[in-house]
């Protein structure tokens, strides 16, 4: 262990040295020597991202990016990245979810690229840019998010005479009406398996879960707004007005196909999931904005699991080139268009007007009866809270929340109890890690 630390320290020193040496040189501007291009390694699991990498390489003769496909982060990709950083052979740029950036930072796996990146901040939506910024330093370039909307079977809603719910009270009322009209049909499932989904619902409900006060984390998971959200779903569960089948499971797909589940509060990338798994329902869907809580003031949405970034990993020998690649990948219109068509989520750039497929899409829009669903998600992405902070223990948060919510669905306590238990567990978890914590 000592030798590993020593190696990490040596790597760190080398990086600082390289950065110091590099400071005098002109900033990378796509330059470099085309004959001897700077080689970068990029780890990602986004399908089709190779096309975007190829486009970058074609446009930047001085930099050559080699893509290596890894398993998605939570399924082992992150473990591999953290291990690679420890071993001193990490890629220069890697796909890391917004929710996992703090864990990476805590593990000392991110490179400070403030000097190369801060000039590009204006290109990106504020809340998405902030996910890669810690204590004023930039470590990652945002790629895409999952702003939430309400997918629903318009044909069935019309048949039942149900309007897409504008408020959460409407949502509960609609759930009841749908069950009355058709005992086999439900407005939605309560996906206790899906922590990022439940977290997004809490994020949208008002008060946030994690904050920073001085040099201490403040944990406020068990807050009145989250409890209000939990109580609403608990009532729906008690009255058996929602299903409890896991989302994105085979059972759930079947329910989408048969109309047994007629709605889904989902992220913008959920479109590809519905289209891919219930192709027979084409033309019957529509998307409405996520229901609102009373007293919210302006329209509020949330992002499913945050989203995903291109992080510059500790140990890169070329922070300038790595940053340039990450910025281009996530802001060049051609690249964004490729990522979008891969179904990877809502782009992090401010100016989505220059992305052709967001204006007209002959594959997507007909599935929703011709609706331009991207208008709904554009509005949603602009309505995501700026205050949300991911803790450095999001993996533990996901596991704990899911376990507690599953227990509640199985009848051991309520969702409000699950929230209280999660609060307590997270405070303990962070304390055990040696972090400064205050409970809400």
């Amino acid at each position: 262990m000592r030798s590993k630390l020593a190696r990490a320290a040596a790597a760190l020193a080398a990086v600082t040295l390289a950065a110091a040496c590099g400071a005098g040189e002109p900033a990378a501007d796509g330059g470099g020597d085309p004959a001897q291009p700077v080689e970068l390694t990029f780890w990602s699991w986004v399908p089709d991202i190779q096309k975007a990498v190829d486009a970058f390489n074609a446009a930047h003769p001085g930099i050559k990016v080699n893509l290596e496909t890894v398993t998605p982060g939570p399924d082992g990709g992150y473990a591999k990245m953290l291990a690679a950083v420890k071993a001193g052979n990490a890629p220069d740029v890697a796909q890391v979810g917004y929710d996992s950036l703090p864990s990476f930072l805590v593990n000392g796996a991110l490179e400070d690229v403030t000097e190369h990146a801060e000039g590009h901040a204006g290109k990106f939506v504020d809340w998405q840019w902030q996910t890669g910024v810690f204590a004023g330093k930039v470590y990652a370039i945002p790629q895409a998010s999952g702003p939430m909307g309400f997918y629903y079977r318009k044909d069935l809603f019309d048949k039942w005479g149900v309007e897409p719910p504008k408020t959460w009270d409407d949502f509960a009322a609609a759930a009841k009406t749908i069950q009355e009209k058709d005992e086999d049909a439900y407005i939605s499932t309560f996906a206790a398996n899906q922590a990022p989904w439940m977290i997004a619902l809490a994020q949208q409900a008002g008060q946030q879960w994690f904050g920073i006060e001085g040099d201490s984390w403040k944990v406020t998971i068990d807050n009145p707004d989250t409890r209000r959200m939990a109580d609403l779903w608990q009532k729906l569960l008690d009255d058996k007005l929602v299903k409890t089948v896991a989302d994105m499971s085979n059972g759930w797909y079947k329910d989408l196909q048969t109309g047994s589940i007629a709605g889904w509060i989902g992220g913008s990338w959920g479109d590809a999931i519905i289209r891919g798994n219930a192709p027979g329902t084409s033309g019957k869907w529509a998307v409405a904005p996520i229901p609102q809580w009373p007293g919210a003031g302006e329209f509020t949405s949330a992002s499913w699991g945050g989203g995903s970034a291109s992080a510059i990993l500790k140990g890169t020998g070329n922070p300038a080139a790595a940053t340039e690649f990450a910025v281009w990948l996530n802001s060049d219109p051609a690249s964004v268009d490729i990522l979008l068509s891969a179904g990877y989520g809502w782009p992090s750039i401010k100016d989505t007007g220059q992305i052709p497929s967001l204006q007209q899409d002959d594959t997507v829009f007909p599935f929703y009866g011709g609706q331009n669903i991207w208008d709904v998600f554009k509005e949603a992405d602009a309505a995501v809270s700026l205050d949300w902070r991911w803790p450095p223990v999001s993996d533990a948060l996901y596991a704990t929340l899911t376990d507690n919510a599953k227990a509640a669905v199985e009848g051991n306590g309520t969702l409000a109890d699950a929230i209280a238990k999660t609060q307590q567990a997270m405070v303990e978890e962070m304390k055990a890690k040696g972090l400064n914590v205050t409970g809400g």
Partner: protein, 317 residues
């Protein structure tokens, strides 16, 4: 079940007596032959175990907001205390003990029943049935779990539809039925293998014993009860121990079924809890402590069982 241990061939005869009587001088060329095995054994078996035990005595410590690199500190038995005072982990231990109590008898009875049927004098198409019963063992555990998972999920299962139509209980994925659903997968998968172990034992029984019994007027049932079962005692104990170890290390089935049900949490079994700590939460130190505890538990229980059945000099193997 892990399967790895289950694949070990069942040699239950003990070391040849001759070798024990005349200890040989270790000749240098012997080393050449055993070196490859022991090198691999040390590198890929002993070293990882040693490293895991070593890791279990450390922990990562951050400070403040945690924006700086964490340090690795000696934790003593801290991780073990954390694991043993974690209700979810101790709960998972109790759960696999309950699972063992259900699964081991079912497995032994099924395997023995099948073996006796195939070994009986009246059995027909023996080869066909032997292969049929053994076939599920050839299906990888992950596939078997997926396959049964489809049969358990109401939306995709013809089985659930049939049971529901017949008015029978058909909810396999609730908290109070899921262990039985898992036991069913494990039995389906391994009963055939264990049956083969028993059949091998039965075939070693001298046929004259049966003839003698028949002459004395014993029927098939009496022969099975008074001759066959006592004579396959050693392989019976063997499959019991294998099944015990397999159930205590329950992992694949709950991992695969987890996304399909709210009844399985991320720490449903001790192995799953260790896996979740290592790969879900990047806490390899606590995971190592949990893994060590699981190993100790499996060791103590299986050797405890062997001691129990081997007492009074009545040594089975």
């Amino acid at each position: 079940m892990t399967g790895v241990l289950q694949r070990t061939p069942g040699t239950g005869t003990g070391a040849p007596a001759q070798a024990r009587r005349r200890p040989r001088r270790l000749r240098p060329h012997v080393l050449v032959f055993v070196a490859p095995f022991f090198t691999a054994f040390a590198l890929f078996f002993l070293a990882p175990i040693g490293y895991a035990i070593y890791q279990s005595f450390f922990k990562l410590t951050s400070s403040g907001l945690g924006l700086t690199e964490p340090t690795v500190d000696f934790a003593g038995l801290g991780n073990y205390v954390t694991a043993l005072t974690d209700e979810a982990f101790t709960g998972s231990v109790v759960r696999v003990l309950v699972f063992s109590a259900i699964e081991v008898p079912i497995m032994v009875v099924c395997a023995l029943g099948l073996a006796l049927l195939l070994d009986s004098a009246r059995a027909r198409f023996r080869a066909f049935f032997r292969v049929s019963y053994f076939l599920p063992y050839g299906v990888p555990g992950v596939i078997a779990s997926l396959l049964w998972g489809f049969l358990y999920v109401p939306q995709t299962s013809p089985l659930v539809d049939l049971l529901a139509a017949a008015g029978l209980p058909h909810d396999f994925l609730r908290a109070d039925t899921i262990l039985l659903a898992i036991a069913n997968i494990a039995t389906w998968q391994f009963a055939g293998y264990n049956m083969l172990v028993l059949i091998a034992g039965l075939q070693a029984v001298p046929r004259e014993l049966y003839e003698a019994a028949r002459v004395d007027g014993a029927g098939e049932l009496r022969i099975a009860w008074h001759i066959k079962i006592p004579l396959v005692r050693a392989p019976l104990i063997l499959i019991t121990v294998f099944t015990l170890i397999g159930t205590l290390q329950l992992f694949v089935e709950p991992l695969i079924l987890k996304p399909m049900t709210t009844a399985i949490t991320s720490d449903y079994t001790p192995n799953l809890a260790a896996y979740n700590q290592a790969f879900g939460q990047a806490n390899t130190h606590l995971a190592s402590a949990m893994a060590t505890l699981i190993a100790i538990m499996a060791f103590v229980i299986s050797f405890g069982f062997l001691r129990l059945v081997n007492r009074k000099g009545n040594r089975a193997w």
